[in-house]
């Protein structure tokens, strides 16, 4: 399978990227706002200072006089350790202060309004507030400019401090956002994982449609998955139907052929001819048996999709099946021994009979003449075990699992009629019931033990 990366990781990264972007943006905005707020605070204090000074402007004997109020400067010292400069001038005449302060000379005398400006003085950036007031000197009103300037260290330090705080908060916000995005990605992918788990939990032949609540986005996937399974089921069923039909159709004419061959055998005189007819009957038997097993297999597949369970006393079922095979065993002088405790289970009786018959049939078939096949039923550890032991040649070499695959036969079965379907049928039946088929070669005596294991209800 080629991977194109995890959706969860991609989603988390995407959300984390968005969070990072937002964090940086918010830090930048807070820093800007902090700087603005600090600047505005300084402006307000400068405005208050400059207004306080301007209010002391007065005229005395035709001369402009003023008195710098103590508070005008002490308020500037209260908020930061910034250097303070000032200038009071009428036009080009300096009344007092730092005469080279870079006040915008072409100031429009808008009386009463405080004008702000930034400049450089004494090697530092300064913020200036200027107010113009008309003072009556002699007969003429004279515009007097009062300027108070302050360096911007306080502003810088406040905004640096807030910017640092904002950076810290942004990082915290980012970390929280990343963990939330990881959580969100995992949560939204949960239904997908659940569906995947539900599909992989299913048995190999379980092709029922998935019926579970799924988010809208996953509905198309569910629908196509169900449609695919439906088509798959249909094609399997039609193949099985075809096989069953074919087997059925072959069995009937074969029975006719066998009957005619028997009659011919009885009336034949020539030994050579008899021999040939016997071979023919044997071949017909083999074909008929194969066809029967194909039919059985199809039945198993068909019914295991939809088990018809009913309470069955397994010991009775075992005895019936054994009784049905008595004639076959008798032909080889094989004794069938049943040692059963009464055990009951909810099973499909037709399928169980089918499975047991195939296992028993195998045992009889591979047992040498005049031996014993023992069938026992036991109930232990929540499991009902139906064991069939023979005194045959064992399973031969190779893994036992392979024998339960379709058309697989042991490597020591030459000369014995068989289709390779018997154990497959038994295994399929047991798995449909939630059980299993165990095969082992017995050590002490040569022979095989096949056990049908069912969960006891």
């Amino acid at each position: 399978m080629t991977g194109t990366g995890s959706i969860g990781r991609r989603l988390t990264l995407l959300l984390a990227g968005v969070a990072a972007l937002l964090s940086v943006l918010s830090w930048w905005m807070v820093t800007g706002l902090a700087r603005q707020a600090a600047e505005r605070t300084q402006d307000n204090v400068l405005a208050a200072s400059v207004t306080t000074i301007a209010e002391t402007l007065r005229s005395e004997q035709g001369e402009v006089r003023l008195e710098l109020p103590y508070s005008a400067f002490s308020m500037l010292g209260a908020i930061s350790e910034d250097r303070v400069f000032y200038l009071v001038a009428t036009g080009d005449t300096v009344l007092t202060g730092y005469e080279d302060l870079p006040v915008p000379r072409e100031l429009v005398p808008s009386t009463g309004r405080v004008v702000f400006d930034t400049g450089e003085y004494s090697g530092e950036e300064i913020r200036m507030a200027t107010v113009t007031r008309l003072v009556l000197a002699g007969t003429q009103p004279v515009p007097v400019n009062v300027t108070v300037a302050q360096t911007r260290r306080g502003v810088a330090s406040i905004s640096a401090e807030l910017s640092q705080l904002a950076a810290f908060l942004s990082v915290a916000f980012f970390l929280v956002a990343v963990s939330l995005s990881a959580f969100a990605a995992r949560t939204s992918l949960k239904p997908l994982n659940e569906i995947a788990a539900a599909v992989s939990r299913r048995g190999p032949s379980d092709l029922r449609p998935l019926r579970r609540a799924a988010p809208t986005e996953l509905a198309p996937l569910m629908t196509s998955l169900n449609r695919l399974m439906d088509r798959l089921g249909q094609s399997i069923r039609s193949a099985e139907d075809f096989i069953a039909e074919a087997a059925h159709r072959i069995r009937t004419p074969l029975a006719t052929v066998r009957a005619q061959a028997e009659i011919a055998l009885r009336s034949a005189k020539d030994e050579d001819q008899k021999q040939r007819l016997r071979q023919m009957i044997r071949a017909v038997d083999e074909s008929s048996r194969s066809a029967g097993q194909l039919l059985d297999h199809a039945t198993v597949i068909y019914r295991s999709d939809d088990l018809v369970r009913s309470p069955v006393i397994l010991s009775d079922l075992v005895r019936q099946t054994v009784a049905g095979l008595e004639p076959t065993a008798a032909m080889k002088d094989i004794q069938l021994h049943v040692d059963a405790i009464p055990a009951e289970a909810e099973v499909d009786p037709v399928l169980m009979d089918n499975a047991l018959r195939n296992v028993l049939d195998n045992a009889i078939k591979y047992s040498p003449p005049e031996t014993v096949v023992r069938v026992s039923v036991s109930n232990a550890d929540g499991e009902i075990r139906i064991s069939v032991r023979d005194q045959g040649p064992g399973l031969g070499e190779g893994p036992a699992d392979q024998l339960t695959q379709r058309f697989q036969r042991g490597n020591n079965t030459q000369g014995i009629v068989g289709s390779g379907l018997g154990l497959t049928i038994a295994k399929d039946v047991l798995e449909a019931h939630g059980g299993r088929l165990e095969l082992e070669t017995l050590n002490e005596k040569e022979g095989t033990c096949a056990t049908l294991v069912l969960p006891s209800s």
């Binding site: 003023l66 710098l68 103590y70 508070s71 002490s74 007092t96 005469e99 080279d100 004494s122 090697g123």
Partner: protein
């Protein structure tokens, strides 16, 4: 850069090119070639222990110590005179030098330990806090109750004009930077100042440039009282030779506390040595017990003082009274009050 000329400069402009008016000078030779040039308002006898202590740790450094008045110091630094360290009790003038860019910044562990109110922008550092006190002659006050507030002092001066005629001494605020600082801060803080000045003015007061002379005159009995004397000097001199003839009073209604400050002038060459001396002074300023040093530490009269009179704040407000217009107005009023004869 050319800077604005302010109050003190205006009055001293004519003499800016003239030589420094030096009150005292001494050279403390060290073992090396480096010379630390200190300009200070503190008398040699007061400051010598500090310099001696400094030379113990910095024996290689020679110290050239010049004593001038606070106004002279301000004028010299503004004029670009080459000194490595300027120590002055006139904190307003020192502050203005720092504000106007005549100081270099200095940072160290010792200065970082100073309280916020004892430094400004790492340019100016306070290392002592000294109160303004009244020094009086016990002989001349014989039979009178000792005044504890300005109101009581006023009453005494009014009731016994004969006793105090010509026997009241205070700073001539026109000459003394420290006297001007005391006067302006007191005028700002208490309305009794102008009334007191009026009453003193009627008694033909003696005006002095410096604390030392005032105390000497009180000790000889020439003066009955000296108003607004820097406390540390008074204490130091008394301890030596008063023998009960002189008494020191701190006014209980209000009393100014000034910070003696240090700056490293922008023209300084020996900044490392100056920084080391500032660090030593800053550490001494933070000491708990007064010890045997002639000048008090910051803590004793500092901001947390129970009397409620913290030291005058180091800040731009100090420059208000240095403004030439304000200074002219204040001096006019002061002269009107003090010179009635």
């Amino acid at each position: 850069m050319r800077h604005a000329c302010l109050a003190i400069l205006l009055s001293c402009l004519a003499s800016i090119v003239s030589a420094l008016e030096i009150e005292d000078h001494r050279h403390f030779p060290g073992t090396g070639d480096r010379i630390l040039k200190v300009i200070s308002t503190a008398d040699l006898e007061v400051f010598e222990p500090y310099l001696k202590a400094f030379q113990v740790s910095q024996s290689a450094l020679s110290i050239d110590y010049t004593v001038v008045s606070s106004a002279e110091l301000h004028r010299a630094i503004r004029g670009g005179a080459e000194f490595d360290l300027a120590l002055s009790s006139a904190m307003d003038l020192q502050f203005q030098l720092a504000n106007d860019g005549f100081a270099q910044s200095h940072r160290s562990e010792a200065t970082a330990g100073l309280p916020d109110w004892a430094r400004w922008r790492d340019l100016i550092f306070a290392f002592t806090a000294e109160p303004a006190v009244v020094v009086l002659s016990t002989k001349r006050f014989d039979g009178l109750g000792l005044p504890t507030t300005r109101q009581e002092l006023l009453t005494l001066l009014r009731e016994y004009p004969d006793r105090f005629e010509g026997a009241v001494g205070t700073y001539d605020v026109r000459d003394s930077g420290l006297g001007y600082l005391f006067a302006t801060q007191e005028a700002r803080s208490t309305d009794a100042y102008w009334r007191l000045s009026e009453v003193m003015g009627r008694l033909n007061p003696q005006l002095y440039c410096c604390s030392g002379q005032m105390i000497d005159d009180v000790a000889t009995g020439e003066l009955a009282l000296a108003y607004n004397v820097l406390g540390s000097y008074a204490a130091e001199r008394l301890a030596r030779d008063s023998g009960g003839r002189v008494q020191i009073l701190r006014m209980e209604d209000f009393s100014n506390v000034i910070l003696r400050t240090a700056i490293i002038p922008a023209t300084a060459n020996e900044t490392a040595g100056a920084g080391a001396l500032i660090d030593m002074l800053a550490r001494l300023g933070q000491r708990e017990a007064p010890g045997s040093w002639p000048l008090p530490p910051l803590g004793q009269t500092g901001a947390d003082n129970l009397g409620g009179f913290g030291p005058i704040r180091l800040g731009p407000a100090l420059m208000v009274y240095l403004d030439p217009l304000n200074r002219r107005a204040f001096l006019t009023e002061w002269e009107n009050a003090m010179e009635q004869h």
